[in-house]
Amino acid sequence: MNVEISDLTRRFGRTQAVAGVSLETGPGVFGLLGPNGAGKTSLLRMMATVLPPTSGRLRLLGRDPGSFRPRREIRRRLGYLPQSLGYYPGFTVAEFVEYFALLKEMPPGQVPRAVATTLEQVGLGDKARAKLRTLSGGMLRRAGIAQAIVNQPELLLLDEPTAGLDPEQRVAFRALLRDLGQRATVVVSTHLVEDVGAACTEVALMERGKIVFHGSPAELIARGEDTAAAGDAPLERGYSAALAMARSATPTPAVTKAPTVTKAPPA
């Protein structure tokens, strides 16, 4: 298993963003669905080793990210696209991707070729020398995807990767995801259920910091059958039905008193 999560929690003051998530997944494309504030981004940031868990157990690529050396090994094999992509406007697209390739400790000799290949993959080959400040929102998103996959990651974490992409680009991106999922674990956090249906082999639904559904897209679709759940497509109806079921079964409060931190945050 590339991702092994057991009873993982994360608090921000009095707010519990992730409330005891347990999850295991191997190679393939894993979709993480959920409404705003469900805790998807916090979970992804913990998996990206930038946010230490408050408690629980997290193992990535067979290593414990709580220790420095394993964490460094994980990061060398990690690709991460944050929800809100930060970038340096004065960098060219190629420089931006090269910069992060070098930060990921790719062998310097392999970097130029890897950058060129990756930019072709995301359709920015002809924009390699363009400054990031001149790119459209969709192109910036693709530049962000390029920096995430330039090191051929074994664990790829994508937070809302298709936001800002036009329909044609989204179709192409899903193909890319399917391809990447053949050799790596790709975790995609998204609002867009059609992305999940088209690219994911496995899907989890988060609500109030917990995973309320975990299964295949077909199983999620099955949840919506024979119900009056809202949605235009079968997957949307499954999503709505699973969410409604979780909400009816769980009491509302998302804000609880902060417990004692049980795990020291990693550096």
């Binding site: 090994e73 992509l85 930060g86 970038y87 400790e105 310097p108 072709e120 920096q147 391809d179 790596a184």
Partner: protein, 511 residues
């Protein structure tokens, strides 16, 4: 976007330690190319031109005097410091402003290492620009025939100060990752320099000597001409700025996100070492004392630094007497010989009259300041030692501001100094008999007695006469001596010169 043919995961090459320098070099290349510092350099260049270079050109063409303003008083640092701190803060706050902290933190290379590369690029631009600007200024000076040794130690101090401003500014940006970090750091840099300037003007000893704008005692009258610029204080200042640089860079490595605990402990040790170095430098400065060739810090002082600079003198003649100057003063030889000729003619043939005039290095006089050093006549045969650099004024169009009357003031100052040396008045007012003979000699040189009280004011206060006007017993005796026929006056001087110089002659014993 293109889906590439599925391929098995490539076996990952083990991380080679030898690849780290190459990777760092490539990161540095990107950072150098995309650094914000070049954008501010035209503004700094303009400021440097108007504040550091132009005012210096009004000084005589000696490195010592030209660089007293821009290096001694730290104007080159003032011109760079606040801007460099501001831009460095802008670069340091980049991850905060651009929301890239998560991206950088999720990478294998420690965030601290990435930040150090960004700082290095910023500092390379800033320090490089400083060295280029100073280099161009020195090249222009050389083209203008500026003489003496350039103050290389002070250039090193300036470059290190710029590095310290960049490190401090970067640290501000790293801890306060907002757009306000840059103006905050720039203002703090400006405030620090303003305070440093004020303290530098006020305090001429103790710890305050460590301040980069404190010129007291750093640039002696003949530094780089007769003797080297003493490196003691520059070394202390280098320690201070290197310490600030190291401490600021160490601070950046302390937060949890910076990297491993080992790296953070190292950063903490580096911070402590930097603070210790800066503190030691301040402590060393407080032990400084003023020597004849500049600031001496006993712990740092190397006796080899006291060795004089060798030179072949350039000589002319005044009233038949050879007058020899350091080649740095060669352009003033005609004015010096012209100014000394009347004095040498006046005493020509007398026992004790100098047979040679030789320039000596001006030594800093702690009591009287820049003009406290007198001419002396000593040796057998007698040689007049001329501390030209101690005059505080130089003649001619390349002289002291080229102001009207500068040449006349120079001639009168030399005449006054010569007369005082001849009568043996030393550095005080002299005995009444010495004052009277001095006045008679000066009249013989063409300085009327009525004008002499004001001429005496060209010297230090200790030379001031008792009377503000050319009257009283001293001037009465002087007029009697001056009224004698030249042969009689010379005969009297020949008979009484030894007693006069030893201060044993009373005013009543004059003819």
């Amino acid at each position: 976007m293109t889906a590439v043919t599925a391929a098995p995961a490539r076996p990952r090459a083990p991380h080679a330690a030898s690849a780290a320098p190459l990777a760092a070099a490539r990161l540095l290349r990107i950072e150098l190319r995309r650094n914000a510092m070049p954008w501010i350099l035209p503004l700094i260049a303009a400021l440097f031109w108007f504040d550091s270079y132009r005012p210096s050109t009004s000084q005589p063409p000696l490195y010592l005097l030209r660089t007293f303003w821009n290096m001694g008083q730290g104007h080159t640092i003032i011109d760079f410091g606040p801007f460099v701190a501001g831009v460095a803060a802008w670069m340091g706050s980049r991850d905060g402003r651009r929301h890239t902290r998560d991206l950088v933190t999720a990478a294998a290379r420690a965030r601290y290492a990435a930040q150090l590369v960004t700082w290095a690029a910023t500092a390379i631009w800033a320090v490089g620009a400083y060295l280029v600007f100073v280099g161009v200024m020195f090249a222009v000076y050389a083209h203008q025939g500026v003489a003496g040794e350039p103050p290389w130690w002070w250039v090193a101090v300036g470059a290190t100060a710029v590095a310290a401003f960049s490190a401090a500014g970067f640290a501000v940006g790293a801890f306060f990752g907002s757009r306000f970090a840059a103006p905050l750091a720039a203002f703090a840099g400006f405030f620090a320099m303003a305070e440093s300037s004020q303290t530098g003007f006020r305090d001429d000893s103790g710890w305050a000597l460590i301040l980069p704008t404190n010129s007291n005692g750093n640039f002696q009258q003949d530094s780089g001409i007769f003797y080297h610029y003493l490196p003691d204080l520059p070394i202390a200042r280098l320690m201070l700025f290197a310490g600030i640089t190291v401490a600021a860079l160490g601070l950046i490595g302390l937060p949890a996100r910076a990297g491993s605990s080992w790296l953070r402990w190292t950063a903490a040790a580096v911070t402590v070492a930097g603070v210790a170095a800066a503190g030691t430098a301040v402590g060393l400065a407080s032990t400084a004392r003023l020597g004849p060739e500049g600031i001496v810090i006993p712990v740092l002082h190397d006796a080899a630094s006291d060795q004089p600079i060798r030179y072949a003198p350039v000589c002319g003649r005044a009233a038949g007497v050879p007058v020899c100057l350091n080649p740095a003063y060669q352009r003033y030889l005609p004015e010096v010989t012209a100014a000394l000729a009347p004095a040498l003619r006046e005493v020509s043939g007398l026992p004790g009259a100098p047979v040679r005039v030789s320039q000596v290095g001006a030594l800093y006089d702690n009591g009287d300041g820049e003009r406290g050093q007198a001419m002396t006549i000593s040796g057998h045969p007698p040689v007049l030692s001329l501390p030209l650099g101690a005059l505080g004024t130089l003649p001619g169009p390349d002289g002291d501001h080229g102001r009207p009357g500068a040449t006349k003031a120079f001639d009168q100052t030399l005449g006054l100094m010569f007369a005082r040396a001849f009568v043996g008045a030393g550095n005080g007012a002299g005995t009444p008999a010495q004052q009277a003979v001095q006045a008679a000699l000066m009249q013989g040189m063409g300085i009327p007695m009525a004008a002499q009280p004001s001429v005496l004011n060209l010297g230090p206060p200790s030379w001031a006469p008792a009377s503000k006007s050319a009257s009283g017993a001293v001037y009465a005796a002087a007029r009697r001596l001056a009224a004698l026929r030249p042969a009689a006056r010379q005969a009297w001087l020949a008979a009484h010169l030894t007693a006069l110089r030893s201060g044993q002659l009373a005013l009543g014993q004059l003819p």
